[in-house]
Symmetry: C2
């Protein structure tokens, strides 16, 4: 059996078992999660040992420091992971919710009921805590998960998987509820299982996510770039604008919801830019500006390529615009449809901006950094999606759920409605 065949057969097993997992009660799914937390806590020394092995070989092979940092799975990471599972257990069941209940005719009842998507393929780079997080999100939502981690975390991943798997089986989940893809072949085999995998969730760098989006027919939940904007309108309050810009850029510079480009209405540039320049310097933020911006402050020139660049660094590009429409067009053209904010005291301008900007998040007078499932009160975050099909923006457990229509009859046939013998009365219950 080739490695690609092996992957296909694992995916087929997950697909076959997915309806059985989908039918488990919330009690069983929550018990399974509690057992996961228990086992991870009990066997912590084994986990740390496995992680030590991965760290040692990472150092030997000379992996970059940021990778090694993400690879760490210590008491701190374990505590975070256990907290996450505890809060997940407390969340309401996303399954078996009735979205629509409609009598089509007497004794012909239509229900629209939430159910799991089915099989989720999860592909992640070095962070082993991501494995636990996404596996438990899938367990809560009744989805079978196929996990493919980076080889640099192989020992930690294998142990974490074994513990979660043992916990799930002991709670009564079907064998295919969780799968670890361990073959050395790269992720391409997984990307081709479009008959059995319903959704892919990648966790990693932009280029990693982009690669996955470009090489699979399976729908992907996530985002590659996060090119977010702040637009300071003619009637913006500078006292609000400066802290919002600094927070959006520097509160966590590597985040997808950090701002990359600042658009400034020409009427406010002379006041805003000098103040921003001082504040940015104090925060270590480098400013790049178009030619008009450069006439107000000293800054390096921004090139066209800057409007399409996610710096993930303390760099902010600035462009002066003539009006709100120019700002909107710039954002819709160069942005990544993630999160964009307007700073203005003019409510009509804010409304127009929020109507016209085609992004998952459109904000008024606040930092772009609020784009986050926890800050939205979802209790858990599956990811942030810049797609417009299925879930958009920060995605909670709902993003792992679809629905089916159940129609309960007593022998009805369409012929009697087509010939006028019977007719629908559509009564929502």
């Amino acid at each position: 059996m080739t490695e690609a065949d092996m992957m296909r057969s694992l995916a087929a097993r997950a697909k076959k078992d997915s309806p059985r997992l989908a039918s488990q009660s919330i009690e069983i799914r929550n018990t399974a999660l509690a057992k996961v937390a228990e086992l991870l806590a009990d066997r912590r020394s084994l986990i740390f040992e496995a992680n030590e092995k991965d760290l040692l070989s990472a150092e030997k092979t000379g992996l970059p420091l940021p990778v090694i940092k993400r690879l760490h799975f210590d008491e701190h990471k374990l505590a975070d992971v256990l907290d996450g599972i505890k809060s997940l257990i407390g969340l309401p069941d996303p399954l078996f919710r009735t979205l629509l209940k409609r009598e089509l005719d007497s004794d012909l009842l239509l229900e629209q009921i939430t159910c799991p998507i089915g099989v989720i393929g999860v592909i992640f780079e070095s962070r082993p805590d991501a494995l636990v997080q996404i596996a438990t999100l899938c367990m809560k939502s009744g989805n079978c998960a196929i996990l493919k981690g980076g080889s640099e975390a192989a020992n930690t991943n294998k142990l974490l998987f074994d513990l979660i798997y043992e916990a799930g089986l002991s709670a009564g989940l079907p064998a295919g509820f969780l799968t670890l893809a361990e073959t050395r072949s790269d992720i391409d085999a997984l990307l081709q299982c479009d008959k059995d995998i319903d959704l892919l969730i990648p966790r990693g760098s932009n280029s990693f996510v982009r690669y996955i989006m470009d090489h699979s027919k399976i729908p992907v939940l996530g985002h590659a770039d996060g090119i977010c904007h702040i637009y300071c309108d003619a009637s913006c309050d500078i006292e609000k604008a400066i802290p919002i810009i600094l927070d959006s850029k520097a509160q966590y510079v590597a985040a997808c919801n950090a701002v990359e480009t600042l658009l400034v209405h020409e009427a406010v540039a002379a006041k805003l830019l000098p103040a921003l320049s001082c504040a940015a310097a104090a925060s270590g933020i480098k400013l790049l500006g178009d030619s008009t911006a450069s006439s107000y402050i000293a800054c390096e020139p921004a090139q066209d390529v800057d409007w399409r660049t996610e710096y993930l660094d303390l760099i902010l590009s600035i462009k002066i615009v003539g009006d709100l429409n120019e700002a909107v067009d710039h954002i819709n053209r160069f942005g990544s449809h993630h999160t964009d904010s307007i700073v203005t005291e003019d409510v009509n301008a804010a409304d127009l901006f929020m109507l016209l900007v085609d992004s998952a998040g459109v904000y008024h007078n606040c930092s772009t950094r609020f784009a986050d499932g926890f800050r939205y009160g979802f209790g858990a975050e599956v990811g942030i999606s810049t797609g417009k099909i299925h879930a958009r923006g920060p995605v909670g457990l709902d993003g792992l759920v679809t629905y089916k229509y159940k129609l309960h009859g007593t022998g009805q046939i369409v012929g009697s409605y087509a010939n006028g013998e019977r007719s629908f009365h559509f009564k929502d219950l």
Copy 2:
């Protein structure tokens, strides 16, 4: 400019105008629809003339009769189309609906509001009435549409497009609201506009839809195959089963929701099959059976390939199963996740079937032919989706809509929540 470049520039124009269309009020969108109906009625003789041209050249080039039949656009088709527009105007606005309204903190209000998807690419075979139907659905839902019809209907399509376009512009819709792709180059150029087109809706044969799904990175709303099942359980009522089977197969044999395979519990086969055999013969339905079925009735043998075949014809394949689980596994393996029905008097068996079958529609004691947006009371049907991402099953106007998150602040930054100075209180309003 090559034809592919032309298509790209048309798609880019639609994308640029899409936020302007998205911001039109329901009054303007409904006025535009009323003007469409008015113009189509007024200029009917021009439409019929254009259609005559298409019909003449179709006959000259010897197109098959079913194609020529679908090509017809006569008084009857016009009346249907005008009825459709009238009912569409009466439907509630799918836009600007508040799905969630949550205070994250005082003066920090999160809203989740429905909005159009953006740009919809519509690719259809010969039927010109499909052009009107889908263009008006997009207008109602604020989506820009790019239409690509078959060359055999070029004259009719062009005239219908011109009238709809004139009506939309006169009501104040932006220039990019509707585009007719007229280049001779095939649909491949359209399929590659994945930066500007958000969703594809194909209307045509299975192989046509399959081709589109296989050749574009743009998400597709629709279904290729419709392999639907009926499972007659051990405790099924034969008086209900026979009419349900006949209706599901023969009420409209070319429909995607017609049944293709009948699964029969072995305990009921001896009673059900002879009765079915008589009824099927009377309705002109040919039965194919597995070896066990053949021991009860005279029928041609069903091969493995039959379980994967959508006949679109008066043919029904029959397989005898040992229990409900075997039926479920067969359906999940060979079906197309469209619509499947159980006939049984055992409510627990029905519940289990509806839980375990992984299809958009799971029915109890009724015909599979009910899977239809109008029969579900949606007022309009965009299509039927067998995908699990985004809309599933019969899709009404809601399937052309996504949402954005609006966050209204007064200067809030994430830093104050990270350092504990402020905290979220999550109050749903």
